[in-house]
């Protein structure tokens, strides 16, 4: 009887091991949206409360497109600080560039992407996120703006060496109430929907690198499993 119970427990343990949450790490590599490796995306940055453009506290929400979030998601890094890099604006006309430092947030890589290793989705904790934002002003009105995004993250459930990092171009397309539909919604600092004001645009020309990812579940022989239960 004791052996039957032991075998049953072992069978359950082995079955669970075979269907663990982390089926396989993302595949190391360098992936480019411009090469068609994965989709480009869209962003919506909220301006919570009385915030305006480029304010600390603004929350970024970006999703791959056309099927929103299918390939990747950037979930809720929050602007911590802004730094003016340069300004040529005179009498309301010219250019300004800012460096935005974000804090917090997550990324998700869909399990169907070119990095597919077996998991349904890979979640990464953002370690560093920067955006440089360049704007064109005419008579005091911003008429156009572009940006560069930069992210470093580590993947949850795999060794600390398993990291994702990348860059992309952003372009501002509008501000005010969320355009809805084919754009991500506005999020607050807890990453919940709710803010009603912000700006939106696109994120393109992404280069994503997955590196240092290895299998997290160790293979065990039948002999090794039995050894765990020897008296």
């Amino acid at each position: 009887m004791r052996n039957v119970i032991l075998v049953s427990i072992l069978a359950v343990v082995l079955a669970m091991g075979a269907v663990c949450a982390y089926a396989g790490p993302p595949v190391n590599g360098i992936y480019k949206s411009s090469d068609g490796d994965f989709n480009e995306g869209r962003e919506a940055s909220s301006w919570p409360g009385t915030n305006g453009f480029l304010s600390p506290g603004n929350v970024l929400h970006a999703l791959s497109y056309p099927k929103l979030g299918d390939d990747w998601k950037i979930l809720c890094p929050t602007v911590l600080d802004t730094l003016l890099i340069f300004s040529t604006v005179s009498a309301g006309t010219g250019h300004m560039s800012y460096l935005l430092t974000y804090t917090g947030g997550y990324i998700e890589l869909g399990g169907g992407g070119p990095w597919a290793g077996g998991d349904l989705v890979y979640t990464g904790v953002i370690d560093k996120y920067y955006e440089t934002r360049s704007m064109q002003f005419v008579d005091g009105t911003m008429v156009g703006s572009v940006s560069d995004h930069s992210v470093d993250a580590h993947i949850v459930g795999y060794p600390a060496s398993c990291v994702v990092f990348g860059i992309g171009n952003g372009v501002w397309l509008g501000s005010g109430a969320n355009p809805g539909g084919a754009y991500p919604d506005y999020r607050d600092s807890s990453c919940a929907a709710g803010p009603t004001n912000g700006h939106w645009g696109e994120i393109r020309d992404l280069t994503l690198t997955v590196q240092g990812c290895e299998v997290s579940t160790e293979r065990a022989t039948w002999g090794a499993v039995k050894a765990l239960y020897r008296d």
């Binding site: 934002r133 064109q136 005419v138 690198t209």
Partner: protein, 237 residues
């Protein structure tokens, strides 16, 4: 003799070099819903990427022809770029963000049929400012991708001093001569020394230009007054 001079003067007045200033307005590239062509760029290297004297050449690309609509050429890096941020770790992975200042260079715009068409066959402008914010991503100490923001301003030649243009755009690097030759349908390399086309050999890099917002501001056409033959003769009585 006096009559000949007067006739020549009349002809010169009747055929001015500048028929009409470019039309003021803000124009967007087609990839963000406008009418302006996006483009492609090359940058000639003097010792490597982000080096002093590296020279830019950007040309519109309509899918078949380079430079049919616009051309920015010969701004060059005037001083060592400033490193703003580096997240590159001991394994050589991460990002670098640079500020790069260019000086010099020119802008050429086609005239007829373009959104800014004011009557001239073409418009030229002298670049006043050109700044780039360059973001690189590194894997194992090797640069594997670069994006940029470019901002530029220029003053048109032949019109009032406030007749200017401004541009902001995105850049994606697509390759460099360390990985192979300049592909077809990318702009030739230009050298700021003499501001001339130096062919395809390089060394240098190339890529795409898009998400352009282009503004023309402050341009006025100084009208050429009609003058009668009698009035011309009266000047010499």
């Amino acid at each position: 003799m006096k009559a000949v001079i007067l006739v020549l003067l009349s002809v010169l007045i009747a055929v001015p070099a500048f028929a009409g200033a470019p039309v003021n307005g803000t124009y967007k590239s087609t990839d963000i819903g406008g009418l302006m062509d996006p483009g492609r760029y090359s940058e000639l290297w003097f010792g490597g990427k982000l080096s002093v004297n590296n020279t830019l050449n950007e040309q519109s690309w309509d899918g078949s022809t380079l430079g049919a609509q616009w051309h920015w050429y010969c701004p060059w890096i005037s001083a060592a770029p400033t490193l703003l941020v580096s997240t590159v770790n001991g394994s050589g992975n991460g990002q670098k963000i640079w500020k790069v200042v260019y000086v010099g260079g020119y802008c050429w715009l086609n005239g007829p049929g373009e959104p800014w068409d004011g009557g001239d066959a073409a418009y030229t402008a002298t670049i006043n400012t050109w700044n780039a914010i360059v973001t690189e991503t590194y894997a194992s100490f090797v640069e594997v991708g670069t994006t940029r923001n470019h901002t530029a301003s220029a003053t048109f030649v032949g019109y009032n001093t406030k007749c200017m243009n401004l541009a902001v755009s995105n850049i994606e690097k697509r390759g460099d001569t360390n990985g192979g030759p300049l592909p077809a349908n990318y702009p030739d390399f230009w050298n700021w020394i003499g501001c001339s086309d130096v062919g395809t050999a390089g060394p240098g890099e190339w890529g795409d230009v898009d998400s352009i917002t282009f503004t023309i501001k402050g341009c006025e056409t100084v009208s050429t007054e009609s003058i009668s033959w009698g009035a011309v003769k009266a000047l010499y009585r």
